[in-house]
Amino acid sequence: MNQKTVIIIFIVLSFAFVSNSINIYLKPFIENNSNLHTKESEGRLVWQRNNCQTCHQLYGLGGYLGPDLTNVISSPGKGVNYVIGLLRTGNATMPAYHLREEEEAQLIAFLISVDRTGKSSPLEFEPLPFGQIKQK
């Protein structure tokens, strides 16, 4: 293939890629909806610093040794106190975490706000005509 043609196609595709990226970056700005306030967004950092994602998923994304935690706060029989209890004691697989009170509050605030964004269980989806899915 002619080198010039290759360069042109490469540039056109890259332009589309960059435009799509910018569109995604600007979304919170355009919709003005930072859904995590400082406390919650700090909580995300606590989540990362303690590496919860090696075992847990949010929206099915993460490691697989433990369960998905997207909706653990709103699950019947679970909730904030349950999570705090588990965090402090750990279980057979999960280590006990001795977080500072502030960090613990931030982590919980983060989990509460994630829970509010939607449902992650596959049961909450219904099929659309072309194999797509939609949250019920």
Binding site: A16, F17, F29, N35, L36, G63, Y64, L65, P127, G131
Partner: protein, 462 residues
């Protein structure tokens, strides 16, 4: 000197592979002995150690290959100082990363969990690599497709690696959905970019084995390259079908993923010719590894196409089917192509694969393929079982589900240990030969490369 640096990158790659395999097995023990080494070498350390070593095996191997193949192509182009600096920053990054993991300094995102401070040397090393690469390929008039693939891989890896750290800015991390969308945009495109490096290497070895320089310059090769690039850029939406992000992101991911049926059709269309090639080249060990990679491309592509249909993805998402896919592709495709090029370098420069070495390679080759297949099937069964239970028996607790699958986890871990033994043996055998292989002999390869290049009218140095 450039080749000495290339050779060092190749040796680092083999070291990373050996560590990756050991950490992978240790991590897997957590599935059959919950909480093992919880207070020392915990799963929180082992999984990142395993996955990062895997990525650095693939990346270091690709860098080393590119240095060894292009390094001598243009003696003046590649700067000696730059390549040494590149190597030093790369080693600093790797050492920093391991130090961070072993001392519990986390903070990064999945696959890059180390303290973000150590991302600096890695990013800087990569930037130096980009500059060096451009210097090396600039004098080449008509680039064959593999040079385009390498350039694409290097540019997009750099872009996605930087993008991977946007969460450091509160603007990005304060919107969970956008932040997670970007995270998976990064992961998708990053995998696509190292695949460009690896598939470029496969193209290059095929050219060298067959001595035919036309395929890497054909229209079809470029069309397939653009299809790969298009997917790298836009198919990542298939990772986040359940995330409540914009509908267009998911629909675009789905639609673009489906264009890969063209790749599958192309493989099936070429089946007969591939079989003939296999018969002709089977005695070349490096070809045999390429053949294994081809079969894994076929298997993984079918799996990926099915997983990319949202309604089927609902069953596989968040399960070990994803792990099967990740390891199936990184071992079956990426590692096999890297083995192919490592063996190719040996075979063609300083050590012909004969005698007892050949016999052992043959045994280990087949052991690896068989173990990998059982390993892959087991992970898929675990994943599909979880998918079905989640959807049809949500009353079963996570604990019971995991206990119920103990036997499968045992099969996974035990075949994993065999896989580890066979792949480490291959790595050690190749590594020792490399250590004994004179550097100027590796350089000889480059002379051959130029001979082939000069035979082709379209690939002249100006």
């Amino acid at each position: 000197m450039k080749n000495q640096v290339g050779k060092l990158f190749l040796l680092i790659a083999l070291g990373m592979l050996i560590l990756c395999l050991i950490f992978g097995l240790l991590a897997a023990f957590n599935y059959i002995f919950p909480g093992i080494w919880k207070n020392s070498l915990s799963f929180t350390k082992l999984r990142p150690l395993h996955v990062s070593s895997a990525l650095f095996w693939i990346l270091s191997g690709s860098i080393g290959t590119i240095y060894c193949t292009l390094g001598a192509n243009n003696e003046k182009g590649a700067s000696r100082r730059l390549s040494v600096l590149h190597l030093l920053f790369w080693i600093t990054g790797i050492v920093g990363m391991f130090y961070a993991y072993l001392t519990n300094q986390f903070g990064g995102r999945e696959y890059w969990e180390f303290n973000p401070i150590f991302a600096f040397p890695i990013a800087f090393a990569w930037l130096l690599f980009l500059i060096q690469f451009i210097r090396m390929v600039k004098p080449i008039a008509q680039w064959p497709v593999y040079i385009w693939m390498w350039l694409t891989g290097i540019i997009f890896f750099f872009f996605t690696f930087i993008e991977n750290y946007l969460w450091l800015f509160p603007y990005f991390r304060s919107n969970f959905i956008t932040d997670t969308t970007i995270q998976w945009k990064v992961n998708g495109a990053m995998v696509g970019s190292w695949n460009q490096l690896i598939y470029g290497i496969a193209f290059y070895i095929m050219e060298r084995i067959s001595g035919d320089t036309k395929p890497a310059r054909s229209k079809k090769a470029f069309l397939m390259y653009f299809l790969g690039l298009f997917n790298l850029m836009f198919n990542w939406g298939h990772h986040i079908y359940t995330l409540p992000t914009d509908t267009y992101v998911r629909d675009l991911g789905y639609a673009v993923s489906m264009t890969e049926w063209i790749l599958l059709a192309n493989i099936i269309y070429n089946w007969r010719r591939s079989l003939k090639q296999i018969q002709k080249n089977y005695t070349f060990f490096s070809y045999r590894f390429l053949m294994a990679a081809d079969i894994w491309i076929f298997i993984s592509l079918i799996q990926a196409l099915l997983m990319s249909v949202p309604i089927l993805n609902l069953y596989t998402h968040g399960t070990h089917v994803t792990v099967a896919h990740a390891m199936g592709t990184t071992i079956g495709i990426n590692s096999m192509i890297l083995f192919a090029v490592f063996v190719f370098f040996l075979d063609n420069s300083c050590y012909t694969i004969v005698g007892i070495f050949r016999k052992w390679m043959n045994i280990l080759y087949w052991l690896t393929q068989i173990c990998l297949f059982v390993f892959w099937i087991t992970l898929n069964v675990i994943g599909i079982k979880k998918g079905i239970l989640q959807l049809h028996h949500p009353e079963i607790s996570f604990y019971n589900m995991m206990t119920d699958m103990q036997l499968l986890f045992k099969i996974f871990t035990y075949t994993g240990s065999l896989l580890m033994i066979s792949m480490i043996s291959i790595a050690v055998m190749i590594g020792f030969k490399y250590l004994n292989c004179k550097i100027n002999k590796l350089g000889k390869l480059n002379e051959n490369f130029i001979i082939v290049s000069n035979n082709s009218k379209s690939f002249k140095s100006t």
